[in-house]
């Protein structure tokens, strides 16, 4: 997938995240990983599409400005 540097990228709040894994198959570039009970978003792969944000059942994902 061709990647244009996005203005915003997804970040996870691990204090809220329930590790349910729902967001993994929603991510077009497969930038979200769940390993050893920690969810991570690969900010080099995230395209800023926001597809993971609204479906999170507990609101653990949000978009932030890409530094």
């Amino acid at each position: 997938m061709r990647r244009v540097t996005p203005d915003t990228i997804a970040v996870v709040d691990l204090a809220v995240c329930d590790r349910c894994g729902l967001c993994l198959p929603l991510c077009p570039p497969e930038a979200i990983h769940l390993a050893l009970n920690v969810l991570t978003v690969d900010d080099a792969a995230c395209t800023g599409c926001e597809k993971c944000v609204a479906p999170c059942p507990v609101g653990a994902l949000a978009m932030v400005a890409y530094a």
Binding site: D18, C20, G21, L24, A54, P55, P57, V58
Partner: protein, 393 residues
């Protein structure tokens, strides 16, 4: 380096049955079943409902400690709370998944499989150079071990890392993901022999809300929704609003959240030395969101296919594609039909469901079978004809 024939990743219903049936098919094979969590069956991410006939292919629920309630009634609730009771003998069961999953894993062990809990697969790769085995990295008690396996069965649920590592496309469009939240409520007044399903855009847009009894006065109370259709609140917030209205005085003694993929089976469920089964392969009934029986049926096919392939000395994707074909014939093609109904139902609104409930209630309760309701609904509500047509096309 531990050398195994079949390595199953994930000890839910798909994985446990896969390990069990791989051993039954070929007792001489080394079969290892990995569970990431420290207890099989926990944490529960499930409403725990299952149909009677499908369950009995794998386990006898009569008097079993893992069967919480026998269900003999389905109560549909329209958006305006009009109830439609459909009673059928032996509809299904509400399981205790912490015990049920452990029971299935014990069946796998009794057949000779080895089960490891607290053991997480963290990646896998192949060597090339004529070596067709997979090297799977497993983290267990802080130690990394590499397992060498002839066939890896990915039964790792919605996140489906094994499928990803094998290069399969396991992604799902947003409209086909149900975001779910559920409480265990105690001290509630509901029929302990019935499951309740409520359809309403205000309560659970794009999905439904459920009450599944686990004991008298105790139930799994949850909902699933499609985020694209919401007003911006998340599933837990929708659930809080519904529970506050329906059960303001109940004790919330547990909660869970998770995703249910209401999609069709992934295009390819196999690769060289890899099979994926259950939620990991999107093998959930896209209309009901039910996945336990499907997962067990797929696990049985995967276990048998893997065992036969290893015994034949050919674990290539060409050989393993027999699994995909068998699954599509068994249930995959039906899921395509259910998916079409789901799409068609997306166009009907709350007012329609309210009217439909009143229509069905004119049929005497003892004569209410799903078939009769369907026929009656079609006559009274011609808007449903395109829905029915899409089912059969």
């Amino acid at each position: 380096m531990p050398d195994v024939d079949v390595l199953v990743v994930g000890a839910g219903p798909a994985g446990a049955v896969a390990a069990w049936h791989a051993k039954l098919a070929a007792p001489g094979l080394d079969v290892v079943l990995l569970e990431r969590d420290r207890a099989i069956g926990a944490p529960v991410r499930c409403a725990e409902g299952v149909g009677d006939a499908g369950l009995r292919e794998f386990a006898n629920p009569d008097g079993a400690d893992w069967a919480a309630r026998k269900i003999t009634k389905v109560i549909f609730q329209a958006p305006d709370d009009t109830e439609v009771v459909v009673a059928e003998r032996g509809v299904g069961w509400i399981l205790d998944r912490t015990r049920f999953d452990a029971h299935l894993a014990a069946e796998a062990v009794a057949a000779g499989a080895q089960v490891l809990v607290g053991a997480e697969a963290t990646g896998m790769s192949r060597n090339g150079r004529g070596d067709d085995r997979w090297y799977v990295r497993v983290k267990e008690r802080g130690q990394d071990t590499v397992y060498r396996a002839r066939v890896v069965i990915g039964a790792d649920g919605v996140e489906t890392m094994v499928g990803r590592w094998a290069g399969l496309d396991t992604r799902v469009p947003s409209r086909d993901m149900e975001s779910c939240a559920q409480y265990v409520l105690q001290g509630i007044d509901c029929d302990p022999d019935a499951i309740y399903l409520q359809f309403s855009e205000a309560i659970a847009p794009g999905g439904y809300a459920w009450i599944f009894p686990k004991a008298i006065g105790v139930a799994n109370v949850g909902l699933g929704l499609v985020a694209l259709k919401t007003d911006g609140r998340n599933a837990r917030q929708y659930l809080d609003a519904w529970v506050a209205r329906r059960f303001p005085n109940a004790a919330r003694t547990g909660y869970t959240v998770g995703g249910v993929i209401v999609h069709t089976t992934i295009k390819k469920t196999y690769a060289d030395g890899v099979l994926v089964a259950g939620d990991a392969a999107h093998m959930i009934n896209p209309l009901s969101g039910g996945g336990i029986t499907n997962a067990m049926k797929a696990g049985r096919l995967a276990g048998r296919t893997a065992a036969a392939a290893i015994c034949a000395g050919d674990t290539s994707e060409r050989r393993l594609s027999a699994y995909h074909q068998a699954w599509m014939e068994l249930l995959g093609d039906d899921h395509l039909k259910y998916y079409r109904i789901k799409q068609a139902l997306e166009s009907v609104d709350d007012a329609f469901f309210d009217k439909l409930a009143r229509t069905v209630n004119r049929i005497p309760q003892e004569k209410r079978s799903i078939g009769r309701i369907f026929t009656h609904a079609l006559i009274k509500h011609p808007q449903l004809i395109p829905v029915a047509a899409r089912f059969f096309v």
